[in-house]
């Protein structure tokens, strides 16, 4: 078995494009999907912008019987999983009964479904709670529903590590493939743009209160004052790279390195964990920093977190030492879906030799970042590093390279 894992199929649901093709076209062109919230009337809340997945009509993709038992995030995940399998050209029926697993990340589960059932419980009574509440909202639901839809019985799981969790799920999939499971569907999908989810996200005090979609989410900028949340993510097909080659699939890119750490507690005097995470991922990939062509930044757009990330990148790669981009300026931060969406963008960047831009940002000079701004940059992208951080101190880094 080879050490590397191939990404052979992508299923994308992003605020600036439903489906891989639309997402990548928008992302290359610098087209943002941020706008005023339409899922509910946000007038009364201090933050009014979000990245909503456009034009998603679940009924045109999924059987009607799934509608009453699924939250929006599960419908997006099911459709993305369908697309990922089709994109990989793989039919689970061709594989052994236990040969395909499903390992996804979740951050908040089916929160809108949960809000509706909480409302039924407290306004009408327990007898009005849906028979599907016991599983429709919980964190494991996307893995379970994808497994059922495609008859996937291999090692499966669910990771929760806020925005870092999506990369952790992919790393968990990589472990299972290395242990002998031929194929794993992985990634993350969240969609908690409902009033109850909004109020919970507002409590983080990391949301931008700007009402201008063009300037609301500006990581690494002097005007950085929080992010815009989004919904969506990516489900992808991962396979042992050698096995994929044998069936004639080259894949978009190969996963060759990963690491995760947790920040030291405040007042410990020890440095934040991100720089160490990058170095551990490089060591795992057996690569020198100079081999990395582009960094997909976490891009928190909180001044202190931006400074930590800029310092980590500069410490490892040197001042202006590597191209850095944050296409999530066009989608918002997608919680568990964020890392996998960046990973999809990285894989497509490797395939097409194009680094997508970071929109609207005028970077702070002191950060010494070679940020790819406004226009996409043509470049030979052999190796890409994707960073993700979760609320509370989670750091994850994942490295992909062009297929051999």
């Amino acid at each position: 078995m080879s050490e590397s894992i191939a990404i052979t199929g992508l299923g994308v649901a992003a605020p600036n494009g439903l489906g891989k093709r639309d997402f990548w076209k928008s992302t290359r062109d610098g087209r943002s999907g941020l706008g005023r919230i339409t899922h509910f009337d946000a007038a009364q809340y201090p933050s009014k912008l979000a990245g909503e997945v456009p034009g998603f009509d679940a009924r045109s993709y999924l059987p009607g019987r799934l509608m009453p038992q699924t939250d929006r995030m599960t419908r997006l995940a099911l459709v993305a999983a369908d697309w990922a399998l089709a994109d990989a050209g793989i039919g689970p029926a061709e594989l052994g009964e236990f040969d395909v697993g499903v390992i996804t990340a979740s951050s908040s589960g089916g929160f809108e479904f949960g809000q509706r059932e909480l409302q039924s419980l407290w306004s009408k009574g327990g007898r009005y709670v849906s028979a599907y509440q016991s599983f429709a909202w919980f964190y494991a639901v996307n893995s379970g529903q994808i497994s059922i839809r495609h008859g996937l019985r291999g090692p499966s799981g669910v990771v929760v590590a806020d925005q870092a969790g999506g990369l952790d799920a992919v790393a968990q999939a990589r472990r299972q493939i290395r242990k002998g499971t031929p194929v794993v569907l992985s990634g993350g999908m969240d969609a908690s743009i409902c009033p109850w989810g909004w109020v919970a996200q507002l409590a983080s005090r990391r949301l931008s209160t700007s009402e201008d979609p063009e300037s609301a989410y500006l990581p690494f900028d002097a005007r950085a004052a929080g992010h815009v949340p989004g919904e969506g993510g990516t489900i992808m097909v991962l396979e042992d790279a050698e096995a994929a080659r044998l069936r004639g699939a080259t894949g978009y890119a190969e996963i060759i390195g990963y690491a995760a750490t947790f920040d030291p507690r405040r007042g410990s005097g020890r440095p934040p964990g991100l720089e160490r995470t990058i170095r551990l991922a490089l060591a795992d990939a057996d690569l020198d920093a100079s081999a990395v062509d582009v960094v997909f930044a976490d891009a928190a757009a909180m001044p202190e977190l931006d400074r930590i990330e800029a310092e980590a990148i500069e410490a490892v790669f040197g001042p202006y030492g590597v191209a850095v981009t944050a296409p999530k300026t066009m989608t918002g931060r997608l919680n568990s879906g964020g890392g996998p969406l960046d990973l999809a963008a990285a894989a497509l960047a490797v395939q097409d030799g194009i680094i997508p831009p970071t929109v609207g940002v005028e970077p702070i000079e002191d950060y010494h970042l070679d940020l790819v701004l406004a226009e996409p940059r043509s470049a030979r992208v052999r190796v890409a590093l994707v960073l993700a951080r979760g609320h509370g101190g989670f750091n994850s880094a994942l490295i992909v390279r062009a297929p051999r």
Binding site: Q69, G126, S134, V158, R175, V199
Partner: protein, 422 residues
């Protein structure tokens, strides 16, 4: 040489028992901790029984700020982890924080806090556009339950990988299995690993009522959890936490640690069948058991005791009985099988870890805990379920299993140190 994983410290918060010592005496006495729900007025609900923990966070050293900020499940985990670390005898301050990770399982996260905070911001369900002015600043930590892992990492000053594993009712096995992967691959040398859940809240009770998964035996709460009994009619909701110190086996031996058990094998599979239903043949659980035994390099003849999922629903108990026969063959009839859920209820994501604790203690104490309340065997459940009274029994290898919503089926093999395959 392949790295192996040892359990060197245990902490437990369980219904009827705070701390490992009390937990084991509850189990070995065959006492039940199920009772009428006291946390809220259960009278509007179909199932009004639960296994509640009498837990006083202040008595365990949590500050009023900790208590305000952390969901009850996070409080359980922090207190159980303190017990585990003390039990491990390790000089925590001497360790390299980079080499210690956290893996904590939870099925329903901060459900209890979310239920309570929702009532306030929605004005008892009157508002769809809930009012952010009434939301506490820590609501985000309830929204995303990775805060449980973050709380443990901060409390114990660890900087290795941290995550919550949330695979429904197998979370407690899967989180420990994940921790083993990290130690074996060399990402960490030590893990704070286990699981926690505190689901006894109106929304959880209502959602299990809606599918009649929980028992309506409200007139006899002490005997309401009846795994494998012909009169069983649903599980009893529970709560609690078990947290372990896991170490790479050789380094644990070098420091002279007391090794409770080796985690020799773990596997999980999906049934891809139904979000809440089970196929009666137990096929996928059997496959998980076979894979776990394979990893542990033991065969059916080595398994001395099965710590069952034994939830007490009609379909589960038959399903797993079939899985044991399918995976272990005739051995399934020769070894004791018991369900501690008969005593401490079903604490969803936490119970897998609580059952690991019970399995390890059974091995250490040469005693198999009983299945309480088992008087009328179900003809379709025809194994030796250790009815009502604990049994003196030497165990060198335990199989413990879990089964959950979403179709997850997990199995773990624990071996007595020095008795596992080399």
């Amino acid at each position: 040489m392949a790295r192996r994983v040892a359990i060197t410290g245990i902490g437990v918060i369980a219904p009827g028992a705070i701390g490992v010592k009390n937990f084991w005496s509850l189990l070995s006495d065959g006492r039940t901790a199920t009772r009428g729900i006291t946390f809220f007025d259960p009278s509007p609900f179909r199932s009004q029984v639960a296994a509640e923990a009498d837990f006083d966070p202040e008595a365990h050293g949590l500050s009023s700020q900790d208590i305000r900020r952390m969901d009850r499940a996070a409080q359980f985990a922090v207190v159980a982890a303190h017990e585990a670390i003390t039990d491990s005898g390790i000089e925590w301050a001497d360790l390299d924080p980079h080499r210690i990770g956290v893996s904590v399982g939870s099925a329903v996260g901060a459900t209890m806090s979310l239920d309570q905070e929702y009532r306030v911001v929605s004005d008892e369900g009157r508002l769809w556009l809930v009012d952010h002015e009434y939301a506490p600043s820590h609501l985000y930590q309830h929204f995303v339950p990775s805060s449980f892992a973050a709380e443990l990492a901060r409390e114990f000053d660890t900087e290795g990988p941290a995550a919550v594993v949330s695979t429904g009712c197998t979370s407690g096995l899967d989180a420990v299995g994940h921790a083993c992967d990290l130690i074996r691959e060399g990402s960490t040398d030590m893990m704070i690993a286990g699981a926690t859940d505190a689901p006894i809240s109106p929304i959880t009770v209502a959602c299990f009522d809606a599918i009649k998964a929980t028992t309506p035996r409200n007139d006899d709460p002490e005997h309401a959890s009846r795994p494998f009994d012909a009169t069983r009619n649903g599980f009893v909701l529970g709560e609690g936490s078990a947290i372990f110190v896991l170490e790479e086996l050789e380094s644990a031996r070098r420091r002279g640690a007391h090794v409770y058990a080796e985690i020799a094998g773990f596997a999980t599979r999906c049934n891809a069948f139904h979000m809440t239903g089970l196929r009666p043949d137990g096929r996928e659980m059997a496959e998980a058991i076979r894979a776990a035994m394979n990893e542990a390099r033991v065969d059916a003849g080595h398994i001395d005791y099965i710590n069952a999922h034994g939830s007490g629903t009609k379909q589960n108990d038959r399903h797993e009985t079939a899985a044991f026969k399918r995976s272990l063959g005739p051995r399934a009839y020769q070894v004791p099988v018991s369900s501690i859920k008969s005593m401490v209820g079903h604490s969803l994501g936490a119970i897998g870890s609580i059952e690991i604790a019970a399995s390890v203690l059974a091995m250490a104490n040469h005693t198999v805990p009983p299945t309480a309340n088992l008087h009328h065997p179900d003809p379709q459940c025809d194994l030796d379920y250790v009815p009502r009274t604990a049994r003196e029994w030497r165990t060198d290898a335990v199989l413990t299993v879990g089964s959950g919503f979403g179709g997850f089926q997990s199995a773990m093999v624990l071996t007595r140190p020095g008795k596992g395959a080399a």
